[in-house]
């Protein structure tokens, strides 16, 4: 891709990150109440103790100095201390990333594959049963709150059918005779959260693929391909779909922010020990350092995902090449 495109996209991403840092800083400083109050929770504290605590957290400096400290801390990986867990925020977040990545990653892969296939089918047989069915499915899952879908699935599969567990990574307090049985238990716990996330995404991706493909099929070069004598399967597979993949990939990557929202809901319902659940816990406990750290991390992830999407687009779209 063109060097100038690459540089421009990176620059924009850095600008956005800088804006996020500033935004994040001020957001949590305008919260009501004295930060010292939530730190200490002891109304009998002496003035000296308060002063000492102020110095410890650097709260006696003017706001721009605090901002400098904040930035310096950020670059050395210091995100503060969590109120709730009494551990460095960095560690708390670190221990919870993997479950989220596992579930969301699986869900995305599943949803992308099924969504693309269904979307192609729907577009190719537009107006027929497949199309109407997948459209209805997409619309309905799109209109559902993600967490509600999760609750429904739990009540069907866990309560009524007693097939799958309701919460957690593994069954609490269970000892396993072999790694295999532990793996099986883990997979049983993974199914419902991943399914919930996937269903919502499948709805969206099917709709997207179908609409993009329909747009592509109205282009002139498709008519040319047909005129050349190629049959429908070939034209769709070799000409239409590759062109439709371009906006698909971009939008899937840009969707990361939305996926995070879904993950927060799903992890809350299923007590899945990931970042989403962590944010919910931090929220309930009003653990501001933890909230700030999670918010920062999530936003970074989304910006990087968008950047990667831009790069992929720049690489795949010949119109952007040199």
């Amino acid at each position: 891709m063109k060097r100038s495109y690459f540089i421009k996209k990176v620059f924009q991403a850095l600008l956005t990150i800088a804006a996020i840092l500033v935004f994040n800083y001020f957001l949590f400083r305008i919260m009501p109440g004295d930060p010292l109050q939530s730190l200490m929770r002891n109304p009998k504290a002496t003035p000296e103790a308060i002063e000492g605590l102020k110095k410890l957290y650097g709260l006696n400096y003017p706001w721009y100095v605090q901002f400098e400290i904040y930035i310096k801390n950020l670059f050395s990986g210091n995100l503060g201390m969590s109120f709730l867990y009494k551990q460095p925020v960095y560690e708390v977040i670190g221990s919870r990333v993997l479950p989220t990545v596992l579930m969301v990653g699986l869900a995305e892969i599943l949803a992308t594959i099924v969504g693309i296939v269904l979307g192609i089918l729907a577009a190719a047989r537009r107006g027929k049963a497949v199309d109407v069915a997948s459209l209805s499915f997409s619309l309905i899952t799109y209109s559902m709150p993600t967490f509600w879908l999760g609750i429904i699935l739990v009540s069907i599969f866990s309560v009524s059918l007693q097939l799958l567990p309701t919460t957690g990574l593994l069954t609490a307090g269970q000892s396993y005779s072999s790694t295999m049985s532990m793996l099986v238990d883990g997979i049983k716990h993974l199914i419902l959260p991943t399914l919930t996330m996937s269903l919502v995404l499948i709805g969206e991706y099917t709709l997207l693929m179908r609409n993009t493909l329909i747009d592509v099929l109205t282009e002139d070069y498709i008519t040319t391909a047909y005129a050349k004598g190629f049959n429908e399967d070939y034209v769709i597979k070799k000409h239409a779909v590759p062109n439709a993949m371009l906006p698909m990939i971009t939008i899937i990557a840009m969707n990361t922010g939305f996926v995070i929202g879904g993950a927060i809901q799903v992890e809350t319902i299923f007590s899945w020990p990931g970042i989403g659940r962590l944010m919910y816990d931090a929220l309930t406990a009003r653990d501001y350092p933890l909230l700030q750290g999670i918010f920062l991390m999530i936003t970074f992830a989304v910006i990087i995902a968008n950047l990667l999407a831009d790069f992929t687009y720049g690489y795949l779209d010949p119109r952007v090449k040199q």
């Binding site: 709150p145 993600t146 990361t256 909230l291």
Partner: protein, 292 residues
């Protein structure tokens, strides 16, 4: 509806309503929304619900009966009454938040489109910033900071949902700006403000309206999610709050389907209604979609 060129300035209202009635999605959406609107306005008057009146211990989570058509919730209250009362709150929040988003989005969009060079790109950077930040974490954080009264919730949803509208309005403004009558208006010395209000706004409005309907759908989903996660106004028995209490009290584990299905279903129906209507509007009003 075949030739739009003869109606550049204002699509005729009657033609529009006719094409709306012809569209299957349009009629379905309208029917659903009118139903819920009536429910929200008249419902609580005919079938009142007082969230402060709790039932006795024996009345908790009762399955549907003649006395309570949809059973009782975790505090012995009538689920049907709550459902009807909730329609008012959920719709109110959705509509008001959308109004805020629409106003911000339209103003910024028109400004960005009309003053295309520096101001425009500045506004678009700001808009893109809001588009990048993931919606739920941003709303959660804002709700924690601002507090969870019903007006704060409306504000939070409104302040986070305008970016899409701004983008769409800006694109439309850019295209409207190229039309000859704008050039004429500038030539005779009309001020920017006059042009934007009297000429651009009316031509941008139909698209804005279609977009607004879709934004409403998201707004209602947002309120439901926020309330479910515990950041709603506890004094307002919205559908989201019902689902919140349903989850907290373990209704799903007990199999108290009457408590957690109706509010969710209601949300799905209303959102579907808005989505259908929005798609229908979009198809009718969006010049780019014609002839597909």
């Amino acid at each position: 509806m075949k030739d739009m060129k003869s109606k550049t300035k204002r699509p005729k209202l009657k033609k529009f309503l006719v094409s709306l009635r012809n569209s299957k999605m349009g009629t379905m959406g309208s029917v659903i929304l009118v139903f819920f609107l009536l429910l929200a306005i008249i419902g609580p008057i005919i079938y009142p619900f007082n969230p402060q009146v709790f039932g006795t211990g024996r009345e908790i989570l009762n399955s549907p009966s003649m006395h309570h058509l949809l059973g009782t919730d975790d505090m012995g209250r009538d689920v049907l009454g709550n459902l009807i009362a909730g329609s008012r709150i959920s719709l109110l929040v959705g509509i008001m938040a959308t109004l805020i988003s629409m106003i911000i989005g339209t103003v910024l969009g028109i400004l960005a489109g009309y003053y295309n060079k520096r101001i425009g790109s500045l506004i678009m950077q700001f808009t893109d910033f809001f588009l990048v930040i993931p919606w739920l974490p941003l709303m959660l954080v804002l709700a924690v900071i601002l507090g969870t009264s019903i007006w704060n919730i409306i504000l939070v949803i409104g302040l986070t949902g305008w970016a899409g509208t701004a983008r769409v309005v800006r694109a439309q403004t850019l295209s409207v700006k190229e039309r000859p009558f704008i050039e004429r208006a500038v030539a005779i010395g009309s001020s920017g403000r006059h042009i934007m209000v009297k000429h651009i706004l009316p031509n941008v409005f139909p698209l804005v309206f279609a977009n607004t309907i879709l934004v409403s759908a998201v707004a209602i989903l947002s309120e439901t999610t926020l309330s479910f996660l515990g950041l709603g106004d506890p004094t307002q028995p919205s559908w989201g709050m019902m689902l919140h209490y349903a989850f907290e009290s373990g209704a799903a584990s007990i199999g108290a389907y009457w408590f957690f299905i109706p509010p969710g279903l209601a949300v799905v129906l209303v959102v579907l209604g808005f989505t259908f209507l929005g798609y229908a509007f979009d198809e009718i009003l969006n010049p780019k979609l014609k002839g597909r």
